[in-house]
Symmetry: D2
Subunit: 429 residues, 4 copies
C-alpha cells in the first residue's frame, strides 16, 4: 500500500478514450463486497458496482474459493465451445436453479463474453428466424458499441462514433418518452398498422425493461405487456436486453419477471459470471434456435473461470432470501431518495428506477456530475447517466449490508448538500 503509482502512466500510455479514470482519479488496489480501497489506503463505498457487473459485490468469498480451487487443479481455462466439465455443470445448474423454477424453456447460447456479443447474436438470429431486416429499438436504449449493437443504441454521441450511417433499425419512443399522457405504444402500433407508414414490420423489438445508461427509465409492467402483445399479434420477436437490469438488479433474477412476459430472446452479461469476469449468455426459445453450427462464434465463448464463478453465484438464487433483501432495502433507497428530492428542492429532482437501479434526475446542467464528483471525494463511488448526464445513479451491490447502504446514503446526502449550497452562495455573490 505504500507504493505510489504515477498517474501519468495512464495519460502517457493509455488512449484518450479512457473515461472512468478521469472521474475517479486514483489507483485502486483492493476490493471486497461493497468496498474498494485505493493505493493510499482510502476506503470507498461502491454504489457503482462495475456498471452492474458486480451485483454480488467484489470478490465474493464462495466464488473466490471455487475459482482458486479450479485454477489450482489446472482445470481447462479456455475452451471455445468444446465440452468441459464446468460448462456442463453450469448448464445444468442454470437450468435447474433459474430456468425451470420460472417455467422458462430456453436454449443457452454462449455468444462471446460481452453484452455487445449477446445483442449482436440476438439481432442476427431474429433476422434469420423472420427473414426480415429491420429492428425496432427505443429512445435512450443502450445495447453496446459494436456496429450491430450500436445501431439499436440511442445515444447520438456514441452513434456518431460509428463513422458510418447505422441502418436497418427504427427508434420508437420508450415508455413516457414524449409525455406522461401519450401512450407511446399506440403510436408504435399505428406505424405497424399503416401500410404507408414507411416503417416495415421488423424482425424484432429490442428493449431494456429499465434503461440504465439512458437515464434509469423504468418501463411500466403494463407497457411491457403491451409490447409483448404487439409482438405476438404482428409476429415480431421480442428481445429483452437484460445485460444491466438482469441478474437481480431490479429485484428479481430477470428484470421482466413481475411483468409476466416471456421474451423470445434474452440477453445476459455483466453480473452473470458473478465475479466480474467477462461472460455473456443468449437465451433462445427452442423453436427459434435455428442457428447453423458456428454461424456466430468467437474465441472467448468458453471462459471456464466464468463457468465456475457463475455456477457458484447461482447459490444466491436457491431460495428467495436475496430477492426479499433487495425488496426491503430498495424500499429504503427509494424512500430516502424521495426524501432528498423534498428536502432539496434546488435539485428539481425526479426519482427514477426500480429495485437496486435507482437515481435522481436533475434538469440543472452539470449538477448530477458535480454531486458524483463530490461523493467520490467523500468516499462514495457513483456515476451519472442519461443523454445529458442529468441523472446520478445508485447501483449498490445486491449483497450490501444495511450499514454499508446507510453509510453510502449519508455520503450522498452530504454531497448533495454541498453541491447545492455553494452554488447559491456563488449566485448570491
Amino acid at each position: 500500500m505504500t507504493h505510489k503509482t504515477d498517474m501519468n502512466i495512464f495519460s502517457q500510455l493509455e488512449s484518450e478514450v479512457r473515461s472512468y479514470v478521469r472521474s475517479f482519479p486514483t489507483v485502486f488496489t483492493k476490493a471486497k463486497g461493497h468496498k474498494m480501497w485505493d493505493e493510499s489506503g482510502k476506503e470507498y463505498i461502491d454504489f457503482f458496482s462495475g456498471a452492474g457487473a458486480l451485483n454480488y459485490g467484489h470478490n465474493d468469498p464462495l466464488m473466490k474459493e471455487k475459482l482458486v480451487e479450479y485454477i489450482l487443479s489446472d482445470g481447462i481455462t479456455h475452451s471455445l465451445d468444446m465440452a468441459t466439465a464446468p460448462k456442463a455443470v453450469f448448464l445444468e445448474e442454470f437450468n435447474n436453479t433459474i430456468l425451470k423454477p420460472r417455467d422458462m424453456n430456453y436454449k443457452v447460447m454462449f455468444p462471446g463474453p460481452t453484452g455487445a456479443n449477446t445483442v449482436e447474436s440476438a439481432l442476427k438470429l431474429a433476422r434469420k428466424v423472420t427473414g426480415r431486416t429491420d429492428i425496432i429499438s427505443f429512445t435512450n436504449g443502450f445495447h453496446g458499441m459494436t456496429i450491430g449493437a450500436l445501431s439499436v443504441t440511442g445515444n447520438s454521441f456514441k452513434r456518431k462514433g460509428a463513422g458510418i450511417p447505422l441502418t436497418n433499425t427504427v427508434t420508437m419512443p420508450f415508455d413516457n418518452f414524449v409525455s406522461d399522457e401519450l401512450d407511446t405504444l399506440e403510436y408504435l402500433e399505428r406505424f405497424l398498422d399503416d401500410g404507408g407508414s414507411g416503417v416495415a414490420i421488423p424482425a424484432a423489438i429490442i428493449l431494456e425493461t429499465v434503461q440504465g445508461e439512458g437515464g434509469i427509465n423504468a418501463a411500466r409492467y403494463e407497457w411491457l405487456r403491451k409490447v409483448e402483445d404487439i409482438c405476438r399479434r404482428w409476429d415480431i420477436l421480442l428481445i429483452v436486453d437484460d445485460v444491466q437490469a438482469g441478474v437481480g438488479r431490479t429485484g428479481t433474477f430477470f428484470s421482466f419477471e413481475k411483468a409476466g412476459i416471456k421474451p423470445d430472446i434474452i440477453c445476459l452479461s455483466k453480473s452473470i459470471s458473478g465475479y466480474g469476469t467477462p461472460f455473456a449468455l443468449t437465451l433462445i426459445k427452442p423453436e427459434y434456435d435455428i442457428w447453423a453450427p458456428g454461424e456466430h462464434n468467437g474465441t472467448f465463448r468458453g471462459n471456464n473461470h466464468a463457468f465456475v464463478t457463475a455456477t457458484a453465484a447461482l447459490s444466491y438464487w436457491k431460495d428467495g432470501s436475496l430477492e426479499q433483501k433487495i425488496e426491503r432495502q430498495s424500499e429504503r433507497i427509494f424512500s430516502f431518495l424521495n426524501g432528498l428530492v423534498e428536502k432539496y428542492p434546488e435539485l428539481e429532482g425526479e426519482v427514477r428506477g426500480r429495485g437496486f437501479m435507482a437515481g435522481i434526475c436533475s434538469p440543472k446542467e452539470g449538477l448530477a456530475g458535480e454531486i458524483a464528483a463530490e461523493a467520490f471525494s467523500r468516499g462514495l463511488i457513483m456515476e451519472t447517466a442519461g443523454p445529458s448526464d442529468e441523472v446520478f445513479k445508485l447501483f449498490p451491490a445486491l449483497t450490501i449490508s444495511d450499514e454499508g447502504l446507510e453509510e453510502g446514503l449519508r455520503i450522498l446526502e452530504a454531497s448533495i448538500e454541498s453541491s447545492v449550497k455553494p452554488k447559491e452562495l456563488v449566485t448570491n455573490a
Copy 2:
C-alpha cells in the same frame, strides 16, 4: 475423473450454434502446457491451442501463480477503465518489454475483451481520423462476428449470418488470391488511381499478415511492404489485425516485424492475456489517438485477472530465446509437412503458413476434415480452416517441447496415412 458427464446436456441445453463440441465430442477436464485430458483420463496433444488464444500452452505455471496470488489478495477483479495497480504495471511492462525495444510508439486502448472489439474500435477510429467511410479488406480475411467486424470478413457463410447487407467495405484480392503471377496490389492500386473505378479512397486497409481462418495464407513480406507503401501514398490508415497471427504465433511478437512495416493501428487479442482469459488491446499511433473520452467503451475493458497474467506472459519476451525456439521448431514443422506432401501425393497437398501457424491444403473434398477427425481419435487436437475447410492446420503451443511436437507430428502422419489409404480401397472396390 471417474465422473461421467452426460453429453446430452449439451444437445439439450445448449444452442444449435455450438460447433467444436461436435468435432471434439468429449468432456475436457484438465490441461497443462501442450496437453489436455478428458473425463475418462484420455490424454491429447493440443495442436489447436484455443484457436491461437493459448500460445503459451495451458495454465502456464508462472501466470497461474501470479493469478492465484492476486485473487487471494482480493485484488480488484473488474474495473472498467478505472485505474488499478495491475493495469498500471501492465501498461509499463508492455511498453518496456514490447513497444520500446521495437522502437514502436503507440498508445494502448482497452476496447473490450475480444478480437471483434479491437477490430470494431480500429474501424471506428480510422473513419473518425480520415472522415471517410469505406474500409478495404482482403479476400478470406477474418476479423470477427459483430456487424462491423463481419463487414470486413470474407467468409460468405458468416456474412450471410448478418441477415442484412454489410456495407461500407470493399474486398480486394489477398496476396496470391488469383494466381501466383498476378500482382494483386497492382490491381488494388489501379482501383485507387482511377477516378472512375467505383472504389473510393478508403479510411483504412485492414489485413492479417497470415490469414488463419481463411486458410493459412501467408502474405509475402514484400507484399506487405507494398501495402504499407500504398497506404502512405494515398493517406490511408493501415490496420494490422494481429489477433491470431500476433503474440509470437508467426515467430516474432508482432507478425509483421520481419516485414519491417509500422501499421497505424494494431489489433491484439487471443493470446495477449497469456492464460486464455478474455482480453484485447488496440494499439494506436499517438497522432491518430483522437478519441473523445468514452467514445468507444464496454463493461469488460478492465479485466484485472488478464492484466496480471498478461504481465507475467511478457517474461517470455525479455530475451530472444522464445523466438529462437519457435524458429528452430518451425523449420522442423515445415520440413515435416513438406515431407508429408511428397510422401502422400494423394493429398495433392500444398504446405502453407509461417512460424507456428502451419497447414496443408488439400483440394480433395472433405479430406482435411477426415484427417482432423482421425487425429482426434488418436489423441491429437487439430482443426481445419479455409472457405471450404480444405486446410488442416497445426497450431501447437509456442512452448511445446520437442517431444510433444514429435509426438503430435507422428499422430498427424498416422492420421493422414489412415485417411488416404482407406479411400483408395473404397475407390478401388
Copy 3:
C-alpha cells in the same frame, strides 16, 4: 375511329408492371380540355388529369399552337443544359410571373424530367449543404420510385420493390397521423431534442403539403408553419415536394403559399410543362446553390418542347383569375362531397383535401375501388389513393367548365349510389 385495337397487344407485349390499363381497359385516342375519347368514340369526363400532370386539361390551345409553331420552325428539341432561346425565355418568364410577384428568390435547376429526379437532386443537395446524411420524411409521403426518392416514400409495397434496405431516412408522423388530438410535431421535436433518441439531426425534412398518393391528407397551415419553425431552429433544410400539389392544384401556384412558409428547396414536375410532357424543376435558395457544375446531370434536362409549353402555361398566372376560379369551384366540390357523405352514410365517408385535390375516404374495404370502376363504366375517369386504396379522389383539370364539373359530380353520385345499394341487396340476400 373505326379502327379496333386488340387489347391483347398490351398483355402480350407489355410488362406485367402495367397498371392503369387494368383499371381503364380501353384504348384512348383523343383528348381536349377535361374530356377524353376512346377508340369507339365513347366520351369521358377526366377527373384524373394524368395524376396531376394535366392541371390545364388536355392539349391546351395556346400551348398547342406555340408547340407546333416551334416544331415547324426546327427549333432545338433536345439540348441537355446548353443554352437555347426557349430556355432563356422560360427562365425569365418563370422568374417574372411566378417567383418575383411572390417575393421568392430561388435559383432554378433542371434536374431531369421527372418528379423522382427533382426529389433525388433535392436530397443530394441538402446532404451536401449540411454535411449530414439523414432525411426526415412523413408517413404516407410519396416522392418517387428511384432508390433515393423511394427511401423517403412511405408505401410498404413500393418500398419492398427496392429489394434492398432503404437507408438514411427516418419517418415521422404526418399531421393527424395518430389521432386528431396528438400534436405530431411535439413528438418529432422530442426526438430532435433528446440526444439519446436514436434520431440524428437530419439534413432536411421533406414533405408534401397535401399528400396525394398517400390518401389526400392535407396538412394544416399551422402545422406547416411549425415544421418550418423546427427547421429554422435546428438548422435543417425544408424541402417541399410540390410535384403533385403544386402548379395550382390546391388553389395557388405553390401549395404552401397560404401557409406563408418559404421552403429552402422546392420540387416541381407533373403540370409544370403544362402540356403533359416530361419536365421538372428544382428551386433552390441562392445561398444553398452550392452544386459543382455537372454534379447532378441527366440526358433530358433540356426538353425544349417543355420549355415552350411551360412558358405558354405561365399565361394562366398573369392575373388572379385562375386562382379565383379554383376557389369558387373548389367550394362547390367540397360542399358536394360533404353532401354525399351525409346522404350516403353507408360510405362512412370522410371528406379530405384542399383546392382541386379532393377525395372521400371510406373504411369499407374495396368500396373506393368499386366506385371508381363504376364511374369509369359511366364515363368518368377517377382513381383511388391511400395505403389501402381507401380513398377515391377527384382531380379535375383546373380549367374545367362548370358544366363539365357538374356532369362529373353527377356521374360520381350515380356511381356511389350504385356501389352502395347493390351491396346492401347482397348483404340482405
Copy 4:
C-alpha cells in the same frame, strides 16, 4: 435571328449545376440533321448528338411530320400507362421491326422517361427475381444519377454527390481495365468461386458494351460472351445498359448483336424516341417479368409524343441500309483517327470505340478539353469523356452526310493542330 439573349440570364437564374452551357457558351436556336445554329446565325457541325440522344440527327423530317400531325389531331399527350392508340402501334412495330427479326422475345416495360429510370427498374427487378441484394457493375460504368443508378456508376465525383454511402454493389474491372494482358473475368470469377472472397453471388451484372462517359471503352465481343457465360453458370441476371451504345450508335440496333449474347434485361433510352424527347424502355425476358402491377411506376411513362416519333424512327430499321452506312463511315472515322494519332505524336493518342462512338484518349492533362474548346470556336461541337476528361469523343448523327462528316473531321484536325502547336511554342519559349 437578330435577337440577342443576355447570357447573364443563365448565370443569374439557373443553378450552378449547369454544365454544357459553360463549354458551349452561346444560345442555340435552330437545328436540322447534323447541324445546329446559334442566335447570331453561326452554323455548327454536331459531333455531340445530345450525348447520344440524337442518333437520327436533329428534327428528322418524317418524325417531325408525324409528330405535328399527331399534335394537331389532339391525340392523347400524356397517358401514364393507360392504353392509347400510338402506344399500341409502337409496341407492335417495335416487336415486328426490332425484336422478332433478331429472334428476341422480350416484354416491354415503360419505366419512366430517362436512362436512370430504366436502370433503376432493371436493378429492382433483378433483385426481386433472384432474392439477392448485390449488383456487380464495372469500373468506369455510367448508369445514371439517381441513388440506385448512381450506386452502379463508377465516377467518384458523381458518387460523392450522393452524400451517403452507396451500397449493395461491387465494382469489378472492365475489359482491359488493369492491363491488356490481364483477363479481368478470370479475376471476377475467382471472387464468385471462392466462398471467402467477401463478394456474394449478385442478383445481376450490369454493363455497357462500349462505355461512353467512362472514356469510350469498347469491350471485346469475346469478353462479353464470357460475361454472359459467367452469368449463366452462376445463375446471375445479365443487364445490358444500352442507353447510350444502343439504337445504332455502335453500328447495329443493339450494341451487343455482333457479340451474339442475349441479355436478360436491356435498358434503352436516349435515342429510342428518335426525336430527342424523353423516353425509355426496359426489355425483359418473359420468364423474369414477375412485376406486380404498379410495383414500379412514374408519371411520365406514357409520353405519346415519344410513341409517335419512336414509331417513325423504326422506319430506319426496316432494311439494312442504315447499318451499312454506319459501317462504311465508321471505317472512315477510325482510319482518320488512326491517321491523326500517327501525324500528331504529341497527342500520345490512343484511338478508342466502335461504330459511331469513337474517340482519342490523350494522357496529356487538359489537352482533350482544349481540343474540344478549340473545335467549338471553329464550329464543331464535341465533348470529352473519361474519369479525367482525357478523351475527346466523336458522336456524329448516324444520318450524317459524307460531306458533313468530312467537314467535321477537317475542323477536328485543325483544332488538334492548333492545340498541339502553340503548346510547343510555349514550351520552347
